[in-house]
């Protein structure tokens, strides 16, 4: 399992290649990438600044990924989450899961992402034409993680 909290951008092709090479028995590879939207609540987003809780971030992601491994038959998984200031259109987060068959990888990838959004200690501050404000959590994210 790979967990990386980093300022630098990531290359999906390189990340998936590493997973494939490390897990030659892979039959299914599911990835999710989250990007900075250019509009939020009808406002033009300039950038997001991502803050996190060093130490707890890594341990909470490890717990989420371990739970995914217990619930589904997956071979390996990677999570990359960027921190610092990110402009509209930039990549924020990457989740990849490999398994023998697609069902396990699809479910585990969605589970990891839903739990990351509600359990991992990251916070976004949004800069738009009106200034800066902290992004509010969404009830839909709580509902998404509650269904698991």
């Amino acid at each position: 399992m790979k967990i990386s909290i980093q300022k630098a951008d990531f290359d999906i092709a390189i990340e998936t290649q590493q997973l494939r090479e490390a897990n030659p028995e892979t039959g299914a590879l599911v990835t999710f990438s989250g990007l900075v939207r250019d509009m939020d609540n009808e406002r033009q987003v300039e950038s997001l600044t991502l803050e996190h809780y060093p130490g707890m971030t890594e341990s909470s992601l490890e717990a989420i990924m371990t739970e995914a491994q217990e619930r589904w038959s997956i071979l390996d998984a990677s999570v990359i989450h960027r921190i610092g200031e990110l402009k509209a259109g930039e990549q924020i987060v990457f989740v990849a899961v490999v398994s023998l068959h697609r069902g396990d990888a699809f479910s585990a990838c969605e589970f990891i992402m839903d739990f990351l959004k509600t359990r991992a200690p990251f916070w976004k501050k949004c800069r738009d034409e009106h200034g800066e404000s902290w992004v509010e959590s969404k009830a839909s994210d709580d509902e998404a993680s509650a269904r698991w």
Partner: protein, 84 residues
């Protein structure tokens, strides 16, 4: 001694990132710690730590205000998370 960390909007509202305090004998839970901090610091703490949306971690694990505290613990207060 316990270490307390504040994050994101809570850190800004309190203008405080981190503090260390010697745990008083009558502070055994997070709930009692919150009462102690409100008494110690006054107004902004009462509003911020009294919010229903407050999230709490002890030693990097999410928990609630009933969590029991020991010397050496690391406590964090933060708003609902918004990563991803």
């Amino acid at each position: 001694m316990i270490a307390i960390h504040y994050f994101a909007s809570i850190r800004e509202a309190l203008d405080c990132e981190h503090e260390n305090i010697d745990l008083p004998d009558d502070v055994k839970t997070v709930e009692q710690l919150i009462s102690y901090l409100i008494k110690k610091h006054g107004t902004p703490w009462a509003d911020v730590l009294g919010a229903g949306s407050l999230m709490i971690a002890v030693n990097h694990e999410m928990t609630d205000s009933n969590a029991v505290l020991d010397a050496g613990d690391e406590v964090a207060f933060f708003p609902p998370v918004t990563g991803g």
